[in-house]
């Protein structure tokens, strides 16, 4: 801290030259690290520690059965990858024998949950992108009441998800608004595909504004002259959109899609409140996160393995995204410029 308190130095004499500048730089770096250290330590404790702990737990078993005399749990121990193989190969230990899990056990629902999670992510993000671009274009125009429109568009995003879910719950109720207005009789919260689309509709409604705002920010970065030049060259509206707007929008769009995809892959609150993960045979909208939370009540360690698997899945998707689409998140300026130039 003394470094901070020291009075600002007068500009270094020219003679000192390179050596002194180097020393100065090193000193500044040292101070920077010292100042950052508490933050880094706290971050390690509150972020890294739980993750590491959860991974350690996932290699253990809570209990290895019940002592028949006292009825007390016997302490479990290290079980290696068993918790992972149980999920991935849908195996259960019944009476000490490893075998295929019977229907209705959590492991048997793993691939269903993987499908549901990715299905929701792909469909909602696709819809949100299309609607988001559309909304961003409208908001980007100059017209009276643009401020009001921009504020209004943000409302769904500003509402807490729990409230959104309850709101849509009333709309989708068998005798609710939607069925009454359309005069239909769809069980939106318990039918297999109806419940899935109920979630998709509610999620799209809620998060499109977020997408629209990120895209709007990208749109505003495109210089007006580019459009003027295009018009001069006789480019049609469609050509302008696909040849100019979309490529120049790509960096912003990729980041927006990446954010939304990662968010959608860990979707929990909306289906948890709207359908409780039910629908169809009872697991129609059970995302991976819902499965993790259900499993925690049964076995912490098995749930740790499942959350680690979920984490790895999401991580892999993020990695692929950055690799394939060149999302620029790390602040690599040169690469960003290259991407822009290529576009």
């Amino acid at each position: 801290m003394t470094a901070l308190a020291a009075p600002p130095k007068s500009p270094p004499p020219k003679l000192a030259g390179r050596e002194s500048a180097e020393a100065n730089r090193r000193r500044v770096t040292r101070v920077a690290y010292a100042l950052l250290a508490p933050t880094i330590i706290v971050m390690l404790i509150i972020v890294a520690y739980p993750i590491v702990q959860s991974v350690i737990q996932s290699f253990n078993s809570d209990a290895s059965g019940i002592d028949p005399k006292t009825g007390l749990f016997r302490a479990g121990g290290f079980v290696g990858l068993q918790n992972y193989t149980n999920w991935l190969f849908q195996q259960c230990q019944i009476g000490g024998v490893t075998q295929a899990c019977p229907p209705g056990s959590p492991q048997a629902g793993f691939y269903n949950s993987v499908f549901v999670t990715f299905f929701f992510a792909i469909v909602t993000v696709a819809l949100e992108t299309v609607f988001g671009i559309w909304m961003a274009f409208i908001m980007n125009r100059n017209f009276r009441g643009r401020g009001i429109l921009r504020a209004a568009v943000l409302v769904p995003w500003a509402i807490p998800t729990a409230v959104t879910a309850k709101l849509w719950y009333f709309i989708f109720d068998p005798s609710g608004v939607l069925n009454t207005v359309l005069n239909i009789n769809v069980l939106w919260l318990s039918d297999l595909w109806a419940s899935r689309f109920a979630i998709i509709i509610a999620d799209t409604w809620k998060t499109t504004p977020f997408m629209a705002l990120l895209i709007l920010a990208g749109l505003q970065l495109i210089p007006e002259e580019t459009y003027e030049a295009a018009r001069m060259d006789g480019s049609s509206a469609v050509q302008t959109f696909f040849r100019i707007t979309l490529p120049l929008l790509k960096p912003a769009l990729v980041v927006a899609i990446l954010f939304r995809t990662l968010d959608a892959l860990r979707m929990y609150d909306l289906p948890a409140i709207l359908t409780g993960g039910g629908g169809g045979g009872g697991q129609g909208t059970q995302t991976l996160s819902i499965l993790v939370v259900k499993q925690i009540q049964q076995s912490n360690d098995s749930a740790s393995a499942l959350s680690t698997i979920t984490f790895l899945l999401i991580f892999a998707v993020a990695f692929l995204f950055i690799r394939l689409l060149g999302a620029n998140l790390t602040g690599n300026e040169r690469k960003a410029r290259r991407v822009a130039k290529e576009a």
Partner: protein, 427 residues
């Protein structure tokens, strides 16, 4: 520098609390805190779910007036059962002594006891439970030991439409009830509903049809016993009722509230629900048309047992006071007071035969009938897994039946059995 020190201190505290958490979660069992003498008195904390009636603090004040040196502090948890259990688990896992008396849902007894977290009510802690309803006393037992004492109970009642029933006798079995369904059809309303959405209520309703037919879901050792003609007959009743439309299709999404709404709006002839609905019908605006047309009877068969027991934390430092407080909460006066103020179902048998008392609370009569034959839900330390196994399989079967698909109850029950076994292996 001061700031850095403070940050470091916070960091160290976090690290330590984190480490202690690990230390606790890795070691289950360990030592036997339950083996203490029963002479420790002092202030205690009583913890239970949210008290919407506002009566519990008043009872605590009554106790405190008589026990100035052993005051009780009431801690209320959330109103969500899962969150209540989670809160108890977190405190007990860390071997904290801050909860002395805990209100435990009847299905938690086994899982808390199997971790060694509950003080067995034996030896110095033995309570005389002879005057209490046997089915409730049993719900506080695990492997032959009493771990929790009866406090308030609950069992389901059959709400029916007197006006539609006419001169027909009130059904006492599921089959009798189904025979009356043409009356409902003629009136253009639904016949019967219970709780069939995929949640704990489904386990309750499934347990009821199985035990009413003389079957059991699991045996004393927690092994599934569903591969029996009795269990098949039970599930078949529900499947057929869904197929015939005697239970409406929409009932696969019914929890207590949806069934209550349907009944109060006059769209349902028979409803299986808990006693709290009596008060709701008396006060709710939507119930005004049926208020004078409905009756209550015992569940047609064997109801499941609900309610909460009282247990002592094995790590409590003032167990003697805790035990005395439980005796206070179980006393006839407090139980009467709670019926009056909270509309709960008492566990003391004598209250149900006290006609001057039951005249004031007429619902106690059919309730006693339900409670006399009521059967506990599976008693197993793996309850969460077992109830999930039941819900997943049975819900799917009922959902299929409700959409007109065919259901082979035998294979559904055998899958349920296997899933229960898998859950009871702790995976």
């Amino acid at each position: 520098m001061k700031k850095a020190l403070r940050v470091a201190a916070v960091g160290a505290t976090l690290a330590l609390s984190g480490l202690s958490l690990v230390a606790c979660s890795s070691g289950s069992g360990g030592g036997n805190p339950a083996a203490q003498s029963g002479n420790d008195t002092g202030p205690i904390t009583y913890v239970q779910g949210k008290d919407t009636s506002g009566n519990i603090p008043k009872l605590a004040a009554m106790w405190n007036a008589d026990h100035p040196k052993e005051k009780v502090t009431v801690k209320q948890q959330s109103d969500n059962a899962d969150q209540q259990l989670q809160d108890l688990t977190q405190h007990l896992q860390q071997k904290l002594s801050d909860y002395d008396v805990m209100s435990t849902d009847v299905v938690w007894t086994a899982q808390l006891a199997a971790k060694g977290w509950l003080q067995p009510l034996t030896g110095n802690y033995k309570l005389d439970l002879s005057g209490y309803l046997p089915s409730v006393v049993k719900s506080g037992q695990y492997v032959g030991t009493q771990y929790a004492a009866p406090s308030v109970t609950d069992s389901q009642l059959l709400y029916y439409r007197k006006d539609l029933l006419g001169s027909n006798p009130v059904p006492t079995t599921f089959a009798e009830m189904m025979k009356l369904c043409p009356i409902a059809k003629k009136a253009g309303i639904d016949c019967y509903a219970g709780q069939f959405a995929k949640y704990e209520g489904l386990t309750v309703n499934f347990n009821e049809v199985v035990t009413s037919n003389g079957g059991t879901v699991v045996d004393d050792k927690g092994k599934p016993t569903l591969d029996t003609p009795q269990a098949e007959a039970g599930l078949q009743e529900l499947v057929d009722a869904f197929k015939d439309g005697n239970i409406p299709k929409a009932a696969v999404s019914y929890q207590e509230q949806q069934g209550l709404n349907s009944f109060e709006q006059g769209k349902l002839m028979f409803l299986n629900n808990w006693p709290y609905m009596v008060a709701d019908i008396a006060n709710s605006a939507q119930a005004k048309d049926i208020r004078s047309k409905y009756g209550i009877a015992g569940y047609p068969g064997k109801s499941a047992v609900g309610g909460h027991n009282l247990a002592i934390n094995a790590y409590s430092k003032h167990k003697k006071t805790a035990l005395d407080f439980i005796k206070f909460m179980e006393s006839a006066d407090v139980q009467k007071n709670r019926v009056e103020k909270e509309s709960v179902a008492p566990t003391l048998s004598s209250l149900y035969s006290d006609t001057s008392f039951t005249d004031q609370y007429p619902y106690l009569v059919p309730l006693k009938k339900s409670l006399d034959s009521a059967v506990a839900r599976p008693i197993t330390p793996y309850y969460n897994g077992v109830t999930q196994a039941i819900q997943n399989n049975i819900f799917q079967a009922l959902q299929t039946a409700s959409t007109g698909g065919s259901v082979d109850v035998k294979s559904v029950l055998s899958a349920t059995s296997k899933a229960i076994e898998a859950a009871s292996s702790g995976s």
